[in-house]
Symmetry: C2
Subunit: 149 residues, 2 copies
């Protein structure tokens, strides 16, 4: 268990907020990021390497609006952008990058909503070729207006 | 991110091997445990607290054969046994114990097998009230004879 071994490479899937044209990550993936820092990485910043995969879904007019945020942590970070269907993009990038762990936030949909929406996280748990952690958003973290999600 | 905060409480769901009457954990959950030690906890043994939930399914004659293993790690550990349907027991214990993270191993079944078998891990990802990490067994970790699983 000595940390002389290579850092654990954690890929974090970052989706943009549904508040279009304002480049910030969604509430779910910000919560997943905060949780990963405080509960997994803790003080062991040298033991981890964060890989931020920003997945952008084209707007109807074909433009892309979000961008990677600068990384101000004392942890080695990388960030890059891919465009397309999030679940397919994430699994394809896992195959290419070989992270030790994939972190995905989830809106914690109920069964009724899930039937219609499907979830990126469920797809990744089944298909990504690495361990996957699913972090559901708590009920009190849901936005009052879904457009702010 | 200072580790003056309370340790991260990691619940590990341990199922017995299908090699009945021999008390040892399944290949999947041993792999998940090894991965958790080497990739998450790493050298930060003071930052984590391991909670081993051993779930036992009654044999046909109603006896239970496995038992918690002694914990020889320099990490604070607890272990206990519950009996019943693993997916229901695990989610119920998460509700009772409130871990920060649930670790579940998965046999990595293909889509055809999954239809018939269902998986404990999929159920836990959907229903457990905490973040869940699913660790699929690698193809080369599958036993030659399924009875050794």
């Amino acid at each position: 268990m000595a940390d002389s071994s290579a850092p654990t490479r954690v890929m974090m899937a970052v989706n943009e907020s549904s508040l279009k044209r304002y480049p910030h990550p969604s509430i779910s993936c910000r919560a997943a990021f905060d949780w990963t820092l405080s509960k997994l990485i803790r003080s062991n910043t040298g033991g981890f390497h964060l890989l931020f995969l920003h997945v952008q879904v084209p707007d109807e007019d074909g433009t892309y609006t979000s961008a990677p945020s600068p990384c101000l942590l004392s942890i080695k970070c990388e960030a890059w952008i891919r465009q397309g269907d999030p679940k397919e993009v994430i699994c394809s990038e896992v195959k290419r990058v070989h992270p030790d762990l994939l972190v995905v936030g989830s809106r914690g949909l109920g069964p009724f909503q899930r039937v219609f929406v499907g979830t990126v996280s469920e797809f990744c748990v089944k298909h990504a070729e690495c361990p996957v952690i699913t972090i559901k958003r708590k009920a009190n973290e849901a936005p009052q207006d879904p457009v702010d999600d």
